[in-house]
């Protein structure tokens, strides 16, 4: 495992995980996890199905109990309370559901019931949010009719309002075609640089990691390898878990 050179980290976008363990129903899902994520970093969590990647994200989100430390500061500093933006693993929305993208935003952000219609002020706010992901034209589309890539962009736009310190994405590339993947990753790259937020994402697609990820973490019940994409993808642990050679990517 190699150590990365971390930038100064005095903000809530900094994540420190020490000796994290998660046990569900008597079986240990994760153990001995140690990880540092610094502001502006993009960290990819990889691993086989059932390895505990989503469980790890849920522990960070506070939706899963754990032992160990999850702090949003450097060691010795007071932990900040971060705003966390979350893009959940996205089962397709029901295609017949009469829920427009604007309705979805209103349900998440507005006190005014969506069934009374979207106010002018809310529509302007939604337009601003969608503009961040180049998706203004999606505002009146039904959520269930969006393509995989469009849906991810909409969910991403939702997660960016209010602008978070840490953005967590669970399998954002699943169900997205190759072109959509590049568009989405370029967008995430631009967002983290513009807003200096750190990004944690799980993925099964390794081809884009060398270009976009600062740090890749291989999880299988715990951290088996971490470092740059090149280091992790050519590691013995990676080859043992996925039965493939790093050079094949």
């Amino acid at each position: 495992m190699s150590e990365l050179h971390y930038k100064d980290c005095g903000h809530a976008c900094c994540l420190r995980v020490e000796n994290l363990a998660v046990t569900i129903g008597g079986s240990q899902i994760l153990k001995d996890m140690n990880l540092h994520v610094h502001c502006g970093e993009m960290v990819a969590l990889i691993g086989p199905n059932g390895a505990g990647k989503s469980t790890f994200l849920k522990a960070i989100l506070g939706q899963r109990s754990y032992t160990g430390v999850i702090a949003f500061s450097e060691p010795g500093q007071r932990s900040h309370k971060p705003r966390i933006g979350y893009v959940p693993q996205s089962p397709a929305f029901d295609p017949g559901e009469p829920l427009s993208v604007a309705d979805l935003f209103a349900c998440c952000m507005s006190k005014r019931p969506a069934f009374l219609g979207i106010s002018k002020a809310m529509e302007e706010m939604i337009t601003t949010c969608l503009d961040r992901v180049h998706g203004v034209d999606l505002i009146h589309k039904r959520v269930g009719t969006l393509s995989g890539g469009e849906l991810q962009r909409v969910l991403l736009a939702l997660a960016l309002e209010p602008m978070p310190n840490i953005l967590i994405l669970d399998e954002p590339l699943s169900g997205v075609d190759a072109e959509g993947m590049t568009i989405l990753m370029d967008m995430l790259d631009e967002i983290r640089k513009t807003y200096d937020l750190s990004i944690l994402m799980t993925t099964h697609d390794f081809s884009l990691l060398p270009k976009y990820a600062d740090q890749v973490v291989l999880i299988d019940g715990g951290i088996k390898a971490k470092g740059t994409a090149g280091e992790v993808l050519s590691s013995d642990a990676f080859q043992a878990i996925f039965h493939m050679k790093g050079g094949a990517l």
Partner: protein
């Protein structure tokens, strides 16, 4: 009520010369928005079988209320339905059985218990027939007042919680990540359905009631693109079917609930045919 009677007297319709028709009309005008609104969430949340099971539990509650000599069996039924709804919500979260299996279990248990209690000691089932078929024409001003209060409560509840309920129904994980208490939202909605179903059972009857909770939303869903249209069309369908069904009932001497249900089915069929424009 006297104001309502005066309004009805000013309308030159033969059927409105009778007080029971005036009462029924007012009851349906109150029920239409009630069922229209709730129907949208029942359809979105895939709860149509559940609301049907609640009707059965309400019947059981009424039978229990009668047998134990409770003065107002309706309130015994409300209590039993709410208990039934809460127990179902708990077991659905706790069990790994599919929701439709659990609904089958609860529904058949409720019906069996209801029939057993109603026929205990060789008792006649006939007095319970009105709860099976329902009769909106015999609704009393007191029951109409109760419906008005329930409608008011549901409207307030809807204005405060509709966004959260919608998000919970369409994407529970997203709702949870936005800080919405998913389990609590589902439970509160379930209890609301239980109360409305139980209070409407003597007017609409448990055999027909569920169609009123499902069809307005289902027909509206065929042609709606957003939540505003979804709610608006659902309420309009419920309203139009209520008025048409009451007229049919008066003209042909048939059950109003059944006529309303069939008109709604027609709305569903027509919107189904024209749903292509919305696809």
């Amino acid at each position: 009520m006297s104001l309502w009677y005066a309004i009805c007297n000013a309308i030159p319709l033969e059927m409105l010369q009778w007080d029971f028709m005036k009462n029924a009309l007012l009851a349906l005008l109150l029920m239409a928005p009630l069922f229209g609104i709730l129907s949208t969430m029942i359809v979105t949340g895939h709860m149509s079988f559940f609301s049907d099971a609640l009707g059965h539990s309400a019947f059981t509650g009424i039978a229990l209320g009668s047998i134990f000599g409770i003065a107002a069996p309706t309130w015994a039924a409300v209590a039993f339905s709410v208990f039934f709804a809460l127990l179902f919500s708990y077991i659905r979260r706790d069990s790994n059985q599919a929701a439709d299996t659990l609904i089958g279990v609860f529904s058949s248990a409720a019906v069996a218990l209801g029939i057993l209690v109603a026929t205990l000691g060789g008792g006649s089932f006939t007095k319970y027939n009105k709860y099976l078929v329902g009769d909106v024409l015999s609704i009393t001003p007191g029951e109409i007042g109760m419906l008005a209060l329930v409608l008011l409560a549901v409207l307030v509840f809807w204005c405060l919680y509709a966004n959260r309920l919608t998000l919970t129904a369409v994407h529970p994980q997203l709702a949870s990540s936005r800080g919405i208490p998913v389990a609590l939202s589902q439970t509160v909605f379930t209890v609301a359905i239980a109360v409305v179903v139980t209070l409407s059972i003597s007017s609409m009857g448990l055999l027909i009631l569920n169609s009123l909770l499902v069809l307005p939303g289902a027909a509206s869903r065929n042609i709606s693109r957003n939540q505003k249209q979804y709610h608006l069309y659902s309420v309009l369908f419920a309203l139009a079917s209520g008025l048409t069904g009451l007229s049919i009932s008066y003209s042909f001497g048939c059950s109003a609930g059944a006529a309303i249900s069939l008109v709604l089915t027609l709305f569903f069929a027509v919107t189904y045919v024209f749903r292509g424009r919305n696809a």
